[in-house]
């Protein structure tokens, strides 16, 4: 029986296009005219089997094989819990007001609604000296990463954590910053992969890494769930300073931090001169479908010529973007009100408790589990096993979708990522099944 929860988790499935079938290509090629426009060589470098569509394909196949199985998705990080009504009420009211003369609004500033920028600067960066004018509202972190890469251009060298959210790597390939994929190492030439593993406390050994222009750093980390410590981030900022690099700091999961790990890179002195920070309302407020995020580009951040990065980013935003949806932005403002913020913390609490259940489940089964404390992701070690094999076994035997660690880079091999985004009932059911199978 296909439950609603299963179907809703399909919304996160980045589905493929019908143009996949080879016979279809042949047929079309025969009847189509000659094109002279060559395919972008950078697109050719991208590997097929992009992680989440591949999982979606396997999920579909599984559901066809077991039509009565209740598949539980702890895979793609798609939020499941409803948005608190104080927030949706604000969005609904704003939408209705668009039908009135007084309430109608046309184009907003591309950088975002002034009040929202101010609210973010105050609420998220209150004592860190970030101004509203340094906050750019977006339709989400994935879009910001794309715009940042357009800003940087094709001549940049990047470093990413290994494992890492695939979007940083894919966008780098598309912008022509990389060489070809090397099948032996499972890495793209031209990218520096910063191994993050239990042995190095999930923080790279920078003494072994050549300088790159850009360092992508996500904390709390997707997929490992690790939140970098203050000491680690001080070292990161120091490395960037010494190398003259720019950090792109992804803090999309900062609201999941339980301890006193920094929530923003700007808690570190000197960070404003070396770091851009991106974040999102997706995992914070359940806005995965509503679409809202932000980027902070401090006015102190300069290119080697002294030209402010902020000025060029503003130009990109004005040329390639037309602002986040005004309705979403009003929702964002409600999220940052006292009432909204409190309500959101309750929802985050649900996911964090889910994460604890997952961590406890695997721990009790004798597995090494990382993350899950400052993050909605648990990173479970299956030493000596291939992560796709573990994924398949778990799916086949317990009908649970996870994410194979190798999909996040070679450093993810031997791990699987288990997400906490689901209803409490489903999480408890998943826990029961896992204990039953592995116990």
């Amino acid at each position: 029986m296909l439950t609603k929860v299963v179907m809703s988790n399909f919304h996160g499935w980045k589905g493929g296009h019908p143009c996949n079938a080879p016979s279809h290509h042949d047929r079309i090629a025969r009847i189509a005219g000659q094109k002279k426009v060559t395919r972008n060589v950078n697109m050719e470098k991208l590997r097929n089997g992009y992680l989440f569509p591949e999982i979606g394909t396997r999920q579909m196949a599984h559901m066809e094989k077991y039509p009565y199985a209740e598949v539980i998705s702890l895979g793609v990080g798609d939020t499941t819990e409803p948005i608190p009504s104080v927030i949706t009420k604000a969005m609904a009211e704003y939408a209705l007001a668009l039908s009135t003369r007084e309430g109608y609004r046309g184009y907003g500033a591309e950088q975002g609604d002034k009040r929202l920028r101010e609210a973010i600067a105050e609420k998220m960066y209150g004592n860190m000296g970030i101004q509203a004018s340094e906050v750019f509202i977006s339709d989400g972190a994935q879009c910001d990463i794309a715009r940042l890469q357009m800003l940087f251009g094709s001549s940049m060298t990047i470093a990413v954590q290994d494992p890492t959210f695939p979007g940083y790597v894919d966008m780098s390939i598309i912008m022509g910053q990389t060489g070809e994929y090397d099948d032996k190492s499972n890495k793209y030439k031209g990218i520096e992969y910063l191994r993050c593993e239990p042995r190095n406390h999930f923080f790279p050994d920078f003494s072994k890494v050549p300088r790159t222009d850009i360092i992508f750093f996500c904390s709390p980390n997707n997929p490992t769930g690790q939140a970098a410590s203050r000491e680690q981030l001080k070292e990161l900022v120091e490395v960037a300073k010494v190398n003259g690099s720019i950090i792109v700091y992804d803090s999309a999961y900062s609201s999941y931090i339980s301890d006193d790990s920094p929530r923003s890179i700007y808690e570190i002195p000197g960070a404003k001169e070396v770091a851009i920070e991106i974040s999102s309302f997706s995992k914070f407020a359940g806005f995965t479908g509503v679409r809202l995020g932000w980027a902070v580009v401090p006015s102190e951040l300069s290119y080697s010529s002294g030209f402010p990065v902020l000025r060029d980013f503003d130009r990109i935003v004005c040329t390639s973007f037309n602002g986040a949806s005004s309705v979403s932005q009003i929702g964002g403002l409600a999220c940052l009100s006292d009432e909204g913020y409190e309500a959101i913390k309750d929802v985050i609490g649900v996911y964090k408790e889910n994460a604890k259940i997952i961590v406890d489940t695997f721990t009790s089964l004798g597995k090494e589990v990382y993350g899950g404390v400052n993050s909605p992701y648990a990173w479970v070690h299956f030493p000596g096993h291939k992560s796709w094999d573990v994924f398949t076994e778990i799916l086949e035997e317990t009908h649970i979708i996870t994410v194979p660690g190798c999909g996040f880079g070679p450093g993810g091999e031997g791990f699987i990522r288990v997400g906490a985004f689901n209803s409490r009932e489903r999480i408890l059911e998943a826990s029961r099944r896992l204990r039953s199978f592995f116990g």
């Binding site: 499935w13 094109k35 102190e300």
Partner: protein, 458 residues
């Protein structure tokens, strides 16, 4: 001492100082070490010795440096703001940026409101949507605008607007393509081309390696295709922003045949198609063979007043292939999945309501209102003896001021009549000597603006 960002810069990005086109020079030469440096990083603290502000060693993207000034419309906004500083009591009327002003019809906002409220319920909550857009909306777009044209829902990619789609298409094409644009044209085509590294430097009012296809009264605002050299991608907007001209069936047939012959791809911007009054084609796909040569992009902005709500779409037919036979749609799908995460679900609910019978009727009502505005503006300028173009099939009136600089005319109209327009040269060298007057405004403002213009130019 390096010029640094001081406190005043943090006040407002729209302040004159920030957006003014000043040449930014560094008083200190910095050695550019941005090329890959394989030196080992030593993580030791370096003692602070320099008094000058710290800079990274990351080189500015040379393509950004090619851009001449701010994007056109923020520049207009800056001048408007400066004017208001000078004359705080001025009742400025904006017929500049094409910003819609009339309320969104109830049937559409009701749907958005309901979708928003539903997100607070277990049954109604939805998280990530398909990056290509919600199935029902894709289907409704296909059946409303492309019925019987052989375009189906899987060819439709829902977006957060045409401007965003244009950049994503440019990311798709990459830096090794050469584009052709109408001259004048909507600035985003050229600017995104520069940013993507497709062009050379700016010389004599043009970027090198862009083909500028002159569209003027002499050629009926349709380029002489025999005069242009081959380009990979041809941007074509009809009804046109800024000239307001809509291409005829014959003209578009010529364009499609030209693209077939040269192997080029047309990016057809049909954002104003619903403003067409006569039988000019509303979609490039009305032309035989277009599916093999064209992408079409469109938007709910000017139909439903969604300029702030953000919703549009792009059509990439299955038949459109690169030179090696690879389907363009497959790569565009990958771009959409990597660079984008879908249009807002609330906006999409609004879009679906737009395409209901009631929604379509309501949109037609709003469009008719703006068309009446357009007529008023056209009549005003015609009566004053100006040569006036456009206006019939678009919400833009293209007014000729022969022998005059369009920025001077812009300044004159702003200074003396407190009306914001858009100088034609902002759209390309072919726009020099023209001013674009947009018809989006409350009726009383359009009438008042007309009165003032009649006074000014009587």
């Amino acid at each position: 001492m390096l010029p640094t960002m001081n406190a005043s810069f943090s006040v407002s990005l729209n302040s004159p100082q920030f957006l003014a086109h000043t040449s930014f020079t560094s008083s200190k030469l910095k050695y550019d070490t941005s090329r890959r440096n394989l030196g080992i990083c030593k993580c030791v603290s370096s003692p602070p010795t320099e008094q000058t502000a710290y800079t990274t060693r990351v080189s500015r993207n040379a393509n950004m440096a090619k851009l001449q000034a701010g994007y056109l419309f923020p520049e207009i906004a800056r001048r408007r703001a400066a004017h208001l500083l000078k004359y705080p009591d001025a009742q400025v009327i904006s017929l500049g940026i094409g910003d819609t002003t009339e309320p969104v019809p109830d049937v559409i906002t009701n749907a958005m409101s309901e979708r928003a409220s539903a997100l607070s319920t277990v049954e109604g909550y939805s998280g990530y949507g398909a990056e290509q857009g919600e199935k029902k909306l894709r289907s409704a777009i296909a059946s409303t605008y492309y019925k019987d044209l052989g375009i189906d829902e899987s060819d439709i990619f829902v977006s957060d607007g045409a401007k965003c789609d244009i950049s994503r298409l440019q990311v798709l094409f990459g830096s090794n393509v050469k584009i052709a644009v109408q001259d004048p044209s909507y600035p985003a085509y050229v600017d995104s081309s520069v940013i993507m590294g497709q062009t050379g430097l700016y010389e004599n009012q043009r970027y090198t390696n862009i083909e500028y296809m002159r569209c003027d009264p002499q050629n009926g605002f349709f380029p002489d295709l025999s005069l242009i050299s081959n380009a990979d991608v041809i941007f074509f907007c009809s009804p046109n922003n800024p000239t307001g001209s809509a291409a005829t069936r014959d003209q578009l047939t010529q364009l499609v045949q030209y693209a077939k012959k040269t192997g080029s791809i047309i990016v057809y911007d049909s954002a104003y198609a619903m403003y067409i009054s006569d039988d000019c084609p509303r979609s490039i796909f009305e032309i035989d063979g277009a599916k093999e040569v064209a992408i079409e992009t469109s938007s709910f902005s000017k139909y439903a007043g969604f300029t702030g709500v953000r919703l549009g779409w792009t059509v990439v037919p299955k038949e459109l292939l690169f030179s090696d036979g690879f389907p363009v749609a497959k790569d565009f799908n990958r771009i959409v999945c990597t660079c984008f995460n879908g249009a807002s679900n609330i906006a999409q609910a609004g879009g679906l309501a737009c395409l209901s019978p009631e929604g379509l009727k309501a949109m037609q009502g709003t469009i008719s209102f703006y068309k009446e505005n357009t007529q008023i503006i056209m009549d005003t300028f015609t009566k004053l003896g100006f040569d006036v173009y456009g206006g019939k099939n678009a919400p833009y009136v293209w007014v000729h001021f022969p022998g005059r600089s369009s920025w001077d005319v812009f300044a004159e109209i702003l200074e003396k009549a407190n009306v914001v327009t858009t100088p034609g040269s902002g759209f390309g060298p072919g726009g020099e000597g023209f001013v674009r007057v947009s018809a989006f405004g409350h009726r009383e403002n359009v009438l008042e603006a007309s009165r003032r213009l009649s006074q000014l130019y009587k």
